[in-house]
Symmetry: C3
Subunit: 158 residues, 3 copies
């Protein structure tokens, strides 16, 4: 893919991904990943040290479906809204396996009383593949958060 095409397609993927989460269409979220995938939420500090664990860790699309199921059970009532703003991605590399890219993000949370706070900030570090029908999917998405605290990060996927 040409670099500008790749960038725009990555931006479209990021936009669609964030819109699904922010519209509470969590059931659509696993579909953004390949069957065998890696999804991990970690801290900048742990990522720098090379720690592999992650606060949230899943290595298949099935595990992402399980996670959505658990979230739906835990959060019966909708209590707040989230809004992702994802910056333009940077293309880090391109090979037969697909694209490596990163993108900065900020998530704003709005409570039922209207109070708005920054819920998360950080960057996505991605490995993206073109599937058999020409759709881009995440083979790997690492969500590297600037904050070392994750009290509330069980609320939604990032």
């Amino acid at each position: 893919m040409q670099e500008t095409d790749a960038l725009l397609r990555l931006a479209m993927l990021n936009t669609a991904y964030a819109a699904a989460i922010d519209a509470d269409r969590l059931e659509d979220w696993p579909g953004f990943f390949t069957e065998d995938c890696l999804y991990r939420i970690t801290t900048a500090e742990d990522h720098r040290r090379g720690l592999q664990a992650g606060v949230i860790y899943a290595d298949s699309r099935a595990m992402l479906h399980d996670r959505v199921f658990a979230l739906r059970k835990a959060n019966i009532y909708e209590r707040q809204r989230y809004r992702h703003i994802v910056g333009m991605p940077a293309l880090l590399g391109q090979d037969a396996d697909g694209l490596r890219a990163e993108a900065p993000f900020v998530v704003v949370r709005t409570m039922r009383d209207g109070a708005m706070t920054i819920f998360a900030a950080g960057r996505y570090l991605d490995q993206v593949r073109l599937d058999e029908v020409g759709m881009l999917r995440f083979a790997e998405r690492q969500v590297i958060c600037d904050s070392p605290n994750f009290d509330t990060l069980l609320a939604i996927p990032l």
Copy 2:
């Protein structure tokens, strides 16, 4: 229009729209709309329920001009600054009438003493038309805010 072209043109339109408001060039704001247009600020909750009213509602460019006039009368002195960050749009559809698109946004407000807060977060839901000279304009812009509170939303267009 090709999808990537459409996306870039929508992004350019959103950027110009936000820059006009943030630079306090409110008189330019109605020009981003078609003569017969719909502009509405509403809440995510009211939008979900299909309520048509909206906190702010205008169905012609002339009404948008009136609104700017009213804002200018009310706010004689400039008291704060606003900064829109609009994410990349998603193209929802395309037909003879133009483009349907959405885009997430966050607005940061800076007070005169330097205090910065999140003023609004949400998404734009748009119907965009190509006019006779090839410029894109909003036939419809629904500003769907995550917050249910609108105490201060009379301050500026969103």
Copy 3:
């Protein structure tokens, strides 16, 4: 350059610039500028009045290197993280000297205890040149902050 190409290349430049700062690769920061450059952080109010001083002012790449050196000396330990979100740029003009563009930005700061606040908001006003090897560099970058307060702006480049 075609307008859409120019926009995408400006967006890529802004993304790379912000990623370098947010990853604390400050030593790479001067490389985004031409040898003879202007870098200035100023307030919207001072910019409007045409004041040339700026809170931070540098007129060569060497001065930017000096600034990084001073920051490294002052901040021995890393205490917080920054995350720039830069909106899509607007192309203001194009001539033999390069491109004139602006872009809105917000910077979120995350403290070691996880507290997140908006650190800065404003817009970049840029003059960008294509160098001899086809890379875009800032001949001029004015960082026009919405806030009139700069207590903490010595922390990182914006």
